[in-house]
């Protein structure tokens, strides 16, 4: 990997306006006019953990989806490990591990092992590498005893650990997490964060780019924070840098000030 793991330059993404009635039939052909990202530029260095924060609709998931090649940018450039997401999507995907906090993300009627073997196959891993890597990751994530149970019988916390193991199977250079603890209860979320911090970030030295609404999670995991608001990047810096720029003591009030809303100091 070079000096930059993820590079985003003047990235813009526009969506088509949502239509109803007979006009909805023409929706797929409609001109994209609704901005989701407006001139976003940022870099993530190898081994760095960058958090994307911002209100709903700020553009966090749109940015992550462009980086994972699920969306095409309207304008601008995005690269993962030097590969352009629009021109070299297959090479980009080779560098990526991706996990979302959605409730369902694995085949519920397959066992954990069958799920991992399926995704290893789709990532072109050999049978030997697959078996070794599954043993290694399930040991690391404490999933060995659960591996042969159907996913539908596992707790949400364990399903997400399994999802994380899937994202790490092919030894990706960059791990992208979209609200990874969204559907976890507070205890399971805290445990998941602990795993992420101790096993994935500290032990493996992974480059992580994640979006989150949980500010405690952001403060615990991220080395730097990128604050998005209505598709614009307001600031990208360390936690203390963001607080200093806003002139506030907490991340929550800093985000409010940066987004142009007066911070509430009453609580």
């Amino acid at each position: 990997m070079g000096k930059v793991a993820v590079s985003v330059e003047n990235l813009e993404k526009y969506f088509s306006p949502v239509t109803s009635g007979w006009r909805a039939l023409l929706q797929p052909m409609a001109k994209p006019t609704v901005p989701a990202l407006r001139g976003v530029s940022l870099d993530v260095k190898p081994g760095e953990v960058l958090a994307l924060v911002g209100a709903n609709g700020a553009g966090k998931s749109t940015l992550l989806r462009i980086l994972t090649t699920l969306l095409l940018p309207t304008r601008g450039r995005a690269e993962v490990c030097g590969f352009d997401v629009a021109r070299e999507p297959a090479r980009v995907r080779r560098q990526l591990g991706y996990h979302t906090g959605a409730d369902a993300c694995l085949y519920a009627r397959l066992s954990g092992r069958e799920n991992l073997e399926l995704f290893a196959g789709l990532n072109n891993m050999s049978r030997t590498d697959t078996l070794l890597r599954i043993a290694e990751l399930t040991g690391l994530l404490g999933l060995k005893a659960l591996l042969d149970r159907q996913v539908r019988t596992l707790s949400t916390g364990n399903i997400h650990r399994l999802g994380l193991a899937r994202a790490l199977l092919h030894k990706p250079s960059v791990l992208i997490l979209d609200e990874p603890t969204r559907s976890l209860d507070p205890l399971a979320a805290a445990e998941f964060r602990r795993f992420l911090l101790q096993r994935i970030i500290a032990e493996l030295g992974a480059t992580v780019l994640f979006a989150s609404h949980t500010l405690a999670e952001v403060e615990q995991l991220a080395g730097r924070i990128a604050v998005l608001d209505k598709g614009r990047l307001l600031i990208c810096g360390t936690l203390s840098g963001v607080k200093a720029a806003a002139g506030e003591e907490t991340l929550e009030s800093s985000l409010e000030v940066l987004a142009g809303r007066p911070a509430d100091h009453t609580s």
Binding site: K13, F15, P28, A90, L96, T100, L110, N124
Partner: protein, 264 residues
């Protein structure tokens, strides 16, 4: 492709009862159809059937192999819809396997299962109801089947392209299945149709698939005799496959622009 086949087999095995009951369903279908066919007598129909062929044998081949069109059209749709509904589509799309290969892998299992089901269908027919398997041209039947799957897959990819963009079941599916079920000769020979419908039948690939399959299995035709059906199916495949791949690439790019790739 193999990984996707193993996935579908494992999911099917997890519904053990349904898996085996589905195979037994063919017995009841074949038996019901046999007894029904014994009541159908028409001099016109007898004249139109290949020599020495009973209506039961004729229609059993039609019913069994017509399903290949239905599966080709449905399997792509169902592969996409299943992945969307169980939340794995995004994760499949972020792997190093491209979407066209994922879709191709997703239809492998349905086709293998259908082939097994068809074999059992014909097996029940032969064992219990006098379906004439002796003398069948198996190589010819295999070639007709392979050419049919290629031609039908082109239609399936077109249907999947429609589903990617418009999200709901393709009207092309019911139009194709509906028209084909009337004109292709599934239940009766094409020659009993009015002339204008016989012309429509020539535009439908299933017509050639059923003609070829009946000639190979019931008419014991050699490869030379099967060539017109095979050639027609290969021409359909040569036109439909490239066109459908171009259409699919456009649809995929369009959904990545509109942000609706994983919507349903």
């Amino acid at each position: 492709m193999a990984a996707l086949f193993r996935r579908d087999l494992a999911v099917a095995r997890s519904y053990r009862a349904a898996f085996f009951l589905e195979l037994f369903e063919t017995l009841f279908a074949a038996a019901g159809f046999y007894f029904l066919s014994r009541f159908i007598e028409s001099p016109q129909l007898e004249r139109a059937l290949p020599q020495g062929t009973t209506y039961f044998s004729f229609a059993l081949v039609g019913l069994a192999f017509f399903d290949y069109l239905s599966v080709a059209l449905r399997a792509f749709d169902e592969g996409l819809r299943d992945a969307r509904q169980n939340g794995t589509l995004e994760h499949l799309l972020v792997t190093q396997t491209s979407l066209p290969v994922i879709l191709a892998g997703s239809i492998l299992y349905p086709f293998v299962l259908l082939s097994l089901r068809t074999a059992i269908y014909l097996g029940w027919g032969a064992a219990l109801f006098g379906f004439p398997l002796g003398g069948a041209n198996w190589l010819g039947a295999f070639l007709v089947l392979a050419a049919s799957i290629l031609a039908f897959s082109g239609l399936g990819v077109l249907s999947a392209s429609y589903l990617l963009v418009f999200k709901r079941g393709s009207p092309m599916n019911w139009a194709l299945v509906g028209i084909s079920s009337v004109v292709s000769g599934m239940m009766y020979p094409v020659s009993v149709l009015p002339v204008w419908l016989q012309r429509v039948a020539r535009l439908v690939p299933v017509t050639y698939a059923l003609e070829g399959m009946r000639s190979a299995l019931l008419g014991h035709a050699g490869l030379r005799d099967l060539w017109p059906s095979l050639a027609a199916l290969l021409i359909f495949a040569a036109i439909l496959l490239p066109f459908s791949f171009v259409t699919f690439s456009w649809a995929l790019r369009r959904t990545k622009i509109t942000g609706t790739l994983t919507h349903f």
